[in-house]
């Protein structure tokens, strides 16, 4: 079967993906410095922080147009729902007041 082929094939684009740089760096560093690495906890925390920032840079943030339309739709939806629930509540509470009050 061709199952395992995927792992040996090179990416078609041929362009070296910068996507996995930090990950690979991290691994090679690990190898060099034994299991835990020679660095102290602060250096490791710093490295972790830099990795977080690096990952955050690769995040696709929604474009302004999408953001606006999503926000509007959500606000309209929430407003409509609040309106409906308020109406229902008002109806029921006056009914209950009539029955028990």
């Amino acid at each position: 079967m061709t199952e395992a082929l995927g792992s040996t094939a090179t990416p078609e684009s041929g362009r070296p993906e910068d996507d996995t740089d930090e990950f690979l760096d991290d691994k090679s560093k690990k190898k060099r410095g034994g299991k835990r690495g020679k660095k102290g906890p602060f250096a490791r925390m710093g490295l972790f922080y830099r990795q977080i920032v690096a990952e955050l840079r690769k995040v696709v943030w929604p474009p302004r147009k999408d953001l606006m339309s999503y926000t509007t739709v959500v606000i309209v939806f929430v407003a409509v729902m609040i309106g409906i629930v308020t109406l229902i509540d008002w109806g029921f509470s006056s009914l209950i007041k009539y029955v028990f009050g």
């Binding site: 395992a4 094939a9 690979l24 972790f48 955050l56 690769k58 929604p62 609040i82 229902i88 509540d89």
Partner: protein, 438 residues
Amino acid sequence: MLTGFARAFKTPDLRKKLLFTLGILVLFRLGATIPVPGVDYTNVNQCIKEAGGNGGLFGMINMFSGGALLQLTIFALGIMPYITASIILQLLTVVIPRLEALKKEGQSGTAKITQYTRYLTLALAVLQGTGLVATAQSGTLFRTCQVGNQIVPDTSIFRTAVMVITMTSGTVMIMWLGELITDRGIGNGMSILMFTSIAAGFPGSLWGIKQAGKILDGWGEFSLVILVGLAMVCLVVFVEQAQRRVPVQYAKRMIGRRSYGGTSTYIPLKVNQAGVIPVIFASSLLYIPALVVQFSGNTTAGWAQWISTNLTKGDHPMYLTLYFLLIVFFAFFYVAISFNPEEVADNMKKYGGFIPGIRAGRPTAEYLGYVLNRITWPGSLYLGLIALVPTVAIALFNGSQNFPFGGTSILIIVGVGLETVKQIESQLQQRNYEGFLR
């Protein structure tokens, strides 16, 4: 864009689902207004008016039950027992090997776990119901109220049992309604019911802000709160939509004479992969100490005093810190149980997919774990901060403690709203309509 809503109603089976959900919500709100037998309706109403919507020890839980708790209605306990039960079971799945085995079993195991969740809900509902009825009888539910100890005129055992049984069956009914919504309606039933309960409290609290305000007859505070609310909605939507896209390349393969695959896609990892679940979990877990105090009926003991000063007010530093930590914890926890890098890597390998630059199999799983871990940190911190910032701001401005636009309710409302809207959208698109998000 907004005509999309109209179009959603024109599609026959989508309309059916929407109306079904709305019908259930009507039932849900009806149950939240009918008082439990044995309660003096006029006295309760007077006490609520005097308390001014400020539930004290019960503020948060009252908000989550849509105001039904203080009114002692048949749905007074709300969906809280169900949520608490499902958290406990999800936590136990990690701890108890038998439950873990059940979870891995697939559908039949999940059904079994759901069954356990229901039993636990029942038990919690009995506990909570008894506690609530006891506090109502002793008059501690409304401490400042004059007729506070006359809410339940008849304290005989039979009456008490009837009240507890009614509330418990109310909770079971809510659980069923929620599952009906999940099965035949739109969205996740549990979150939709939660959404509705919180939404029910919105207008009243907004009006309360206007009444309490001083700038321009209260309209100043009113519009400020609305503006802050809108900005927060925008921010929440922004982060919910943010994704880290891990590229995946599929190998071409020939099956017979046709070739398949060879496409490149991506795995979307949301910055906030866990959604609103951590917030719901954290806030319902923080309610448990208050519940213990309420149930023990002993409000003067040292530990009870400590809990009610430190853990029940939404603006106490202790409460805020614990809340923040719990949210961060649950964000990681929920991501860990809902996204399994090994499984994804395995599936990718099976279908001939790989991440460029990473070997298939274990390295891929490691890489996914690496990205997920680093992306969840900012995500969880964001969740915690959003949930806290308004509370802190309000504490500084001396507002009421369980503010409707608190981060918790905004997160839940917007998160559930976004999820539901997206689900409606995808259902619309299935029928070749263009949807309304463009």
